[in-house]
């Protein structure tokens, strides 16, 4: 082989190799087109613990989302130093039931956490979630405080407004991420639901996201992808959100909403506040990016 031959071979092999490498860059907009109809499950009842199993049933139960041996992250809203009846945090019974369901489905580890706004120990204690999970003796399940070492910078390649943010490693490194927001009022974004709840896995100066909150949350939703969203609307905070504090602002609605489609779950939950889904900027932005369905006419709602 002479030099000329060698150069020619190298050139040809390189061209050939790079042409045959499949370059998948399928845009989710295109994928969304062939998706089956979005399914939202709805369950009402006063036994919030039992309600969880009921709301998951039409979706195929927890076993549809959690496979044996899976690492599972359950992310409730524990953002504020408030008691369950004040409606600012996810109901402890809902969280506990979800953890037990995931354990029953064979999860190897179930981790619960939230990066809180108020002091974390106070939030974990007063929300009742820490105590509810302490009743679970299974060592596979645990609630832990956010460890600042675990925030890693993540590129948001499809982001229209933000291109990089620090995200909690465990939320990305799991087989099943379950988002469990509480439905409530919010001064800036009008409501806080599933997409907004994702802020609890973010590091950095989260306040800086508020200047274009709708698009920012949609951008984040391209990388933080829950397999399952369970919206706690057992009681909803109608005013003075997201913290509330006055039980007169809380309405008992005894409802859980679950869906594999994060946008559809938010869209449907918005109607509980007598608002149309497009009243929430984040839902709109996520829908436009093809992250889920928001048209109520195209969402199949099953009452469990």
């Amino acid at each position: 082989m002479d030099r000329r031959q060698f150069l020619r071979d190298v050139l040809l092999w390189s061209v050939g190799a790079s042409l045959t490498v499949p370059r998948f860059n399928i845009i989710t907009e295109a994928l969304a087109a062939d998706k089956p109809q979005a399914l939202v499950s709805l369950a009402k009842g006063e036994d919030y613990f039992a309600l969880v199993a009921r709301v998951l049933a039409p979706l195929g139960g927890m076993g549809k989302f959690v496979k044996p041996g899976d690492k599972v992250v359950i992310k409730p809203n524990i953002g504020w130093d408030r008691r369950p009846e004040q409606g600012a945090t996810t109901h402890p019974l809902v969280v506990k039931a979800l953890v037990l369901q995931a354990l029953d489905a064979g999860a190897s580890k179930v981790l619960v956490f939230d990066r809180t706004c108020n002091e974390q120990r106070r939030c974990y204690a007063n929300s009742g979630i820490e105590a509810a999970l302490a009743e679970i003796t299974d060592s596979r399940a645990g609630i832990e405080h956010v460890d600042p070492r675990k925030f890693v910078p993540v590129d948001i390649t499809r982001g229209k407004s933000i291109t990089q943010w620090e995200i909690y490693k465990d939320a990305l490194d799991c087989n099943c991420y379950i988002n469990v927001p509480v439905a409530k009022h919010h001064g800036l974004s009008r409501l806080t639901l599933g997409l907004k709840n994702s802020m609890g896995v973010l590091g950095g100066n989260r306040g800086a996201l508020h200047q274009n909150i709708g698009q920012n949350l949609a951008d984040l939703a391209t990388v933080i992808r829950p397999k399952l969203t369970v919206i706690d609307a057992t009681r909803i905070l109608l005013r003075s959100g997201p913290q509330g504090g006055d039980v007169r602002d809380v309405k008992k609605t005894d409802t859980l909403i679950a869906s594999a489609d994060p946008v559809a779950a938010d869209a449907y939950a918005t109607t509980l506040f007598d608002l149309p889904p497009d009243a929430i900027e984040a839902t709109m932005a996520a829908y436009r990016m093809g992250l889920g369905e928001m048209d109520l006419a195209r969402i199949q709602v099953v009452t469990a």
Partner: protein, 518 residues
Amino acid sequence: MSQPLLRPSLWRRLGQCLFLALFLFLFIKTDYAGRDELPWAVNLFFRIDPFLALAAMLAVRMVIALMLPAALILLLTLLFGRFSCGWICPMGSMIDGSRLLLRSRMKVPNLPGWKYALLLTLLTASFCGLPVAGYLDPFSLLVRGLSFALHPAFGSATTSFFTWTYQHAPAWLNAITEPVYAVMKTHLLPFADKVYDLSVLSLFLLLTVLGLSVLESRFFCRSLCPLGALLAFLSRYSLFALAGGGEDCGKCRHCRDICRMGAIDEQRGISTAECILCLDCLSQCPRSRIHYGLRKNGSGMQATDLSRRGVITSLTVGALLPLVLPTRLLTRNADPLLIRPPGALAEADFLCRCVRCGECMKVCIGNALQPAWLEAGLEGIFTPRLIGRIGYCEYNCTLCGQVCPTGAIRRLSRDEKQRTAIGRAYFNKNRCLPYAAGVPCIVCEEHCPTPEKAIKFREAAVVNTRGEQVFVRQPYIAGELCIGCGICENRCPLDGGAAVIVTSEGASRGGGKIREGY
């Protein structure tokens, strides 16, 4: 001859270790423990400090019930002598401990009179309106150094180390280091990283006290400690004392050589004022002549180390110093950014009671309370103030009032606390995004903790920085609802200073006016 189980001086050392361990345990436990009320009397050491008790009571000119346990120490001192310095005082134990590092070879002359002069000056000044006893109290010095500097430094150093192993070490090593880190985090380290103003100064003062032993062993205790002075004054009259040596000991002066307090004179007489009952002499006397027992008439009673002239000078200085205070600008115009913790008394009373122990700043769950420098005047150094940009006051938290040993910060119920305004926020519309740039934000409104939000907003049509007509929500403070917690200032997402700032306006305790003259 039956040997005792342990030499008496070892019993004393054991006692020192136990009390130091108790002190450190209570120090670590000065933190939120999962419920609103603290389960431990974490301020115990301050409440048995008779010097601080006396100074605070003289300053407010009334009996402070919280500090009455200090009388117990006085009583025990009258019975047994100055044992607290040798057995209980954690600062004394640390000074003894640091002797392993610092060998005193300088042998400067004893200056036992200084501490009495300091004691008298500080007490008189406290009574006359310059309450600075806490600057020199050994417990206050120690807790400040630990809270503001050593403990946070220990925390950040440990975290740095375990962050390094977490990020770079192999998995098998992490299997060992991570559990160790978890245990340390639960039991030893500050729960979250903390920062403090004056951390370097506090550490410097603590190290100075320890380092003074280079001059002479226990130099601080011998010559400077005002608490030691008070106890020394009382133990002159104690019922029990060490005694035994005398002329017939001949040339042996072993006891005198080893005495860490320089309490033994040429004739082997032991000064009950200076003796802290470390029992080294009793343990090491070659002829076992020294015994602890009921004092014989007049033995060990030595002339006071402070002359009559010294007493008069101390009293005069203490009484005259406060006269200069009303000449300062503070008298007319208190610092508007001096935000005191919820439940703090009106400024003059607050300064009189506060003993600069640092407990409130240690326990502050939001790291909001910071030691003041000169914002509250020369007498206000190390008093707590809220700096919103560093931390904010948690709406449901009442810990600072629970740990205050003197009631300078009143103990408030959760309801009372939530009705107590420590200040009030205002907006700087030149910087606040919805006003200045037409950009939506209201992070402050989201975080405002009062059930009816003290930060409200109006929809306004404005032209933004790109020249577009937009609708934004512009925040404003609903005056009476604001309690000044500072979370808005803390969470304002702007770089380089918040656009919403808390001032002392509207504080429930009244303005920051200080005492005018006597």
